[in-house]
């Protein structure tokens, strides 16, 4: 099998952590918090830890698969295990899913920014500007994405925790009660299902050839899951502490409401500006990553040497898919609900199935340096 020369650029562990974490953390700015509080009540912060642990297990299985096929990304593994045709079909399904993911995130973002900040701006202009920037970022390829993720990740995380810290006068420790929310079973089951909220970690398997081997893959994967778990859990907890679970489930964006609730004196109050910049920038970066990966997987499936010619058609597709939902509630109840609650059945189970098939049919990667890997 001929290998495609990697022209995507290379990046290290830090950049890999930043890419994955940005993609995973961005959803904290959206409706995720209110949805979890709605389902799990006050125990949302425990539920997300269950999700985090589940993801760690699933990631370990993916890691085993990648270890079995060294120097191959997951699209190449699909082809190696399932054959060329089936492998390509599976890659294309992943490409389509990422496009759907990018479009849904974009639409969710646009709906929210219209609701909160730009009520009079036409949504088509907002979508167009957003997609134009995503296209520019995608034009610079994976290296460019890795670098901007590296640049913006720390400011975004700092901004996020600054909001949580500044809103602390509003917290009431008693709002945590009852500690197990609607019950342990509900918390654990939802926690297991909501591991979909962490399934973006699988993108590392698509970018493995740009990283410095399996070690980076493993380190980046575990680190980003843990970072995201801590961020999600602390955000959920702070939201419950500030608004109670009854108020928290009503907020469209829990974090935005939290930033609005900041009040120290007449001058230091309502620091939505911090939130806004962090929110927009992290959304841009995360949609750009998903958008680029969608193109990238497509080019890998059809062995197209460069991704740039496909940016324009994919931008058009992104625009179209983003406009399919009729309104905000449709986006949240269909698209986002599927992505954050049920996508794990597809994202995690496919690589795990591939791993089982590879084990059963004794399929392995190439021999490297005279040793079987």
């Amino acid at each position: 099998m001929t290998t495609i020369r990697n022209r995507e650029g290379a990046f290290g562990t830090y950049e890999a952590i930043c890419i994955t974490s940005t993609l995973m953390i961005t959803k904290i700015f959206y409706t995720s918090i209110s949805v979890i509080i709605d389902i799990e009540g006050t125990s949302g912060w425990i539920g997300t830890i269950v999700s985090c642990l589940t993801t760690l297990v699933m990631f370990s299985l993916i890691y085993m698969l990648m270890k079995r096929f060294p120097n191959k990304d997951i699209t190449q593994i699909f082809e190696a295990v399932l054959g060329r045709f089936s492998g390509k079909v599976l890659s294309l399904v992943f490409s389509a899913y990422l496009l759907f993911y990018a479009a849904s995130s974009l639409r969710e973002f646009v709906e929210m920014i219209k609701a909160y900040n730009l009520p009079y701006s036409p949504p088509s202009l907002l979508v167009f500007a957003f997609i134009a920037v995503c296209a520019i970022v995608a034009y610079y390829g994976l290296e460019g994405i890795a670098r901007i993720s590296g640049i913006f990740f720390i400011p975004v995380i700092v901004a996020l925790f600054v909001i949580l810290l500044l809103a602390s006068p509003n917290y009431n420790i008693n709002y945590m009660k009852p500690y197990l929310g609607y019950g342990l079973k509900e918390t654990v089951v939802t926690g297991l299902l909501r591991c979909s909220a962490y399934d973006e970690v699988v993108i590392l398997a698509f970018m493995i050839n740009s990283m410095h081997g399996l070690k980076t893959f493993k380190r980046a994967g575990y680190s980003s899951i843990i970072i995201t778990g801590i961020t999600f859990s602390s955000n959920l907890l702070c939201n419950v502490l500030a608004f109670t679970y009854t108020g928290g489930r009503e907020n469209l964006s829990g974090l935005f409401e939290l930033s609005r609730a900041i009040y120290f004196n007449r001058f230091v109050q309502r620091l939505e500006s911090i939130f806004l910049f962090a929110w927009v920038i992290s959304s841009l970066v995360s949609v750009a990553i998903a958008f680029y990966l969608s193109i990238n997987i497509y080019t890998k499936a059809f062995r197209i040497p460069g991704h740039r010619p496909l940016i324009f058609p994919f931008s058009f597709l992104l625009f179209m898919v983003a406009l399919i939902p009729k309104n905000m509630s449709e986006v949240v109840q269909l698209n986002i609900h599927f992505i954050r609650q049920y996508s794990c059945f597809f994202i995690y189970l496919v690589p795990v199935m591939i791993l089982f098939i590879a084990v059963i049919f004794r399929k392995r990667g190439d021999i490297v340096h005279g040793k079987k890997n």
Binding site: N117, L118, I136, E143, A146, R147, F267, L276, F277
Partner: protein
């Protein structure tokens, strides 16, 4: 056209006639030439005396055609006057092909022809006899060469010398014994000879020799070394580069007294034959950088490069990037510090600036003063500069976005103040901002163009009067005057001229984005700017290294650590030697303090006493006591052991 008479003439008045074209601008010669040229289609430019550039491939094609047909195609292309057209530039090609001959007359003819001596009165050809026997001549360009050197150290010794004997070529002997100039080289190629004369040297031709001798006689007017105009510092060197490349190289070499400091000279510009020097420390700089610099400069095929500004544009990686990828400095000390960090400097003749490559964006915000001041002050200055860059780029855009889209984010008191100030202003904020920005840029540009003191005053007067009048006329709000003023100050605080320009352009983009999409638009702009900057490279080094991609910090990036903690060179340029200084650069902190003057005598006496004892004990005791005093017993033991070893050896 003959006039129609009678009935047809009347009809002609009724019918439509195409109006005559007015001859507004008519050059009869051109028309004549065009008419002539039409007869000889394809060689119109020849008729007008223009030498059309011909691609090499085309010349080859013509040559092969000629060879295959066995006849000269050019003979077919003769115009009415019978002039023969040639495909190649006959003058240059022929002269360069000619060799320096043994015949002095031929050589003189060659020089005259090469420099078009009939019309060009700059070229001086002085004929004389060496030792009363051999015919010779010197050639130089008037004004470029030093007359005293030529008179006293070339012509005089040659004419005085009497005992000349016949040799195959007497120039060898002249070079050895007669010429009194500090540099003299043999030249046998015509092109080289022409270049030597052009740069101000004097070429000596002697009968019977098929080469000439070029003597160093450069002596044109040049500006003296003066203080920096744009990179002034309070503490630090007050020297700046001049237009003369040699002087500039010397200025740098005077600071870096290192035998490995290498200077390579490269020619730039085919017609103006300019020179540039590539300076680097051999054994420290990554050789790939030097190779890349030389490759780019050698690969330039252009007719005119006036200096570093033009050269920078020719060799930079990304011409579309608004942020410069090459650092330009007028300070020899700054150049030297970059050379020591493992970078290269390119100094072009004609401009008082050196180009430093490769650089990162952090380097652009450094000044030489950061290093000369104590680390706390240097760090503060850097933070101020970063803040200045932020203000210069974002403040007007943020103001427009805030007032147009996000009023709820402004604290109420401030919002009331802004609203009050804007109450009587008829324009929308964006027009207000653009109006003031344009006015500010106009004042700035006018201040630079108007000479002398008036230039400085117009800036202040213009800003004061215009701002005050605009507020009184209710054209702009006072808040906006503050915004524009603080933006201007921020822009002036940016140390690099090109980065300040980039900030000005970005500012305009952010104003527009802020006006259309508020903070959302500004965030979009930030992401686009970041990705473009992150993917821009300066001679292979990413502009945002240290941030993206992450490399280890050299302790001199934003926060300047104390100078003794800066143990490593910047890693982004991959120098061959990363270590700048040893881990303990201040050895004195580990040594015992020098004894005070009063105790000196006691110490001396003690030493004298112990010397006698030491002779017996082998000097162990003294060392042991000293080390005890300094509290470094461990090292004292080592020293004792060393001492013992020495004694054993003895």
């Amino acid at each position: 056209m003959a006039k129609k008479r009678g009935i047809p003439g009347l009809f002609s008045l009724l019918t439509y006639k195409k109006p005559k074209e007015e001859e507004s601008f008519y050059i009869p010669e051109t028309e004549e030439e065009k008419r002539q040229a039409r007869k000889i289609r394809g060689v119109e430019h020849k008729v007008r005396g223009i030498i059309k550039p011909t691609p090499v491939s085309m010349i080859k094609k013509v040559k092969t055609k000629e060879q295959s047909k066995g006849k000269n195609k050019e003979t077919a292309r003769e115009d009415q006057s019978g002039e023969k057209y040639q495909v190649v530039n006959k003058d240059d090609g022929n002269i360069l092909a000619e060799e320096i001959s043994r015949d002095i007359d031929e050589n003189m003819e060659l020089v005259k022809k090469a420099f078009n001596a009939e019309k060009n009165k700059d070229i001086i050809i002085r004929e004389f006899t060496v030792g009363g026997r051999l015919r010779a001549f010197i050639s130089y360009i008037d004004g470029m060469a030093d007359r005293i050197t030529i008179n006293d150290f070339i012509i005089k010794p040659l004419m005085i010398k009497k005992e000349f004997q016949e040799e195959d070529c007497s120039l060898d002997r002249i070079l050895r014994e007669v010429l009194e100039t500090n540099q003299a080289t043999k030249i046998s190629e015509t092109g080289e000879m022409i270049y030597e004369i052009l740069v101000g040297n004097t070429c000596l031709f002697v009968e019977g020799c098929d080469y000439c001798v070029s003597s160093e006689t450069k002596g044109y007017e040049r500006r003296a070394v003066s203080t920096p105009q744009t990179e002034g510092v309070v503490r630090g060197s007050q020297e700046a580069f001049t237009e003369n490349m040699r002087t500039n190289v010397t200025l740098v070499r005077r600071i870096v007294k290192n035998k490995d400091l290498s200077t390579e000279f490269l020619k730039i510009g085919a017609r103006n034959q300019n020179q540039c020097a590539v300076m680097y420390i051999d054994g420290l700089i990554n050789p790939a950088i030097v190779e890349e610099i030389k490759r780019r400069i050698k690969g330039l095929k252009t007719d005119f490069i006036a200096g570093s500004g033009m050269l920078e544009q020719f060799i930079e990686e990304n011409t579309w990037s608004i942020v410069p990828t090459i650092l330009s400095t007028e300070r020899p000390d700054r150049t030297a510090s970059h050379l020591i960090e493992g970078k290269a400097a390119i100094i072009a003749d004609g401009t008082p600036f050196a180009l430093i490559v490769p650089v990162s964006i952090a380097t652009m915000l450094h000044t030489p003063e950061d290093t000369t001041l104590r680390w706390q002050y240097g760090t503060l200055l850097r933070i101020i500069r970063i803040f200045a860059l932020f203000i210069a780029t974002f403040i007007p855009g943020l103001y427009v976005a805030l007032t147009n889209f996000h009023r709820e984010m402004i604290p109420t008191d401030l919002l009331i103040a802004i609203a009050k100030a804007r109450e009587n202003v008829p324009f929308p904020t964006i027009i207000e901002v653009l109006l003031m920005e344009v006015s500010f840029e106009l004042i700035r540009e006018a201040g630079i163009r108007i000479p002398g003191i008036i230039g400085n005053t117009i800036g202040i007067i213009g800003a004061l009067i215009l701002g005050q009048a605009a507020v009184q006329a209710n054209l702009v709000s006072p808040v906006l005057i503050i915004i524009v003023a603080i933006t201007g100050l921020g822009n002036f605080a940016v140390p690099d001229f090109s980065v300040a320009f980039a900030a000005r352009i970005s500012r305009l983009a952010f104003i527009i984005l802020g006006a259309f999409l508020g903070f959302y638009g500004i965030s979009l702009g930030i992401v686009v700017g970041a990705v473009m900057l992150a993917c821009t490279k300066s001679f292979g080094v990413p502009m945002l290294t240290y941030f993206a991609p992450k490399v280890s910090n050299s302790n001199d990036l934003v926060i300047r650590r104390p100078i003794w903690m800066q143990e490593f060179r910047p890693e982004n340029v991959n120098p061959l030697d990363v270590t700048r200084q040893s881990k303990v650069s201040r050895k004195w902190v580990e040594e015992a303090p020098a004894p005070a003057e009063d105790s000196d005598e006691e110490e001396q006496e003690g030493k004298r006493e112990s010397k006698t004892e030491g002779e017996e004990t082998g000097g162990k005791e003294i060392k042991g006591r000293e080390k005890k005093g300094s509290g470094k017993s461990g090292e004292g033991i080592e020293d004792e052991e060393d001492e013992e070893d020495d004694d054993d050896q003895e």
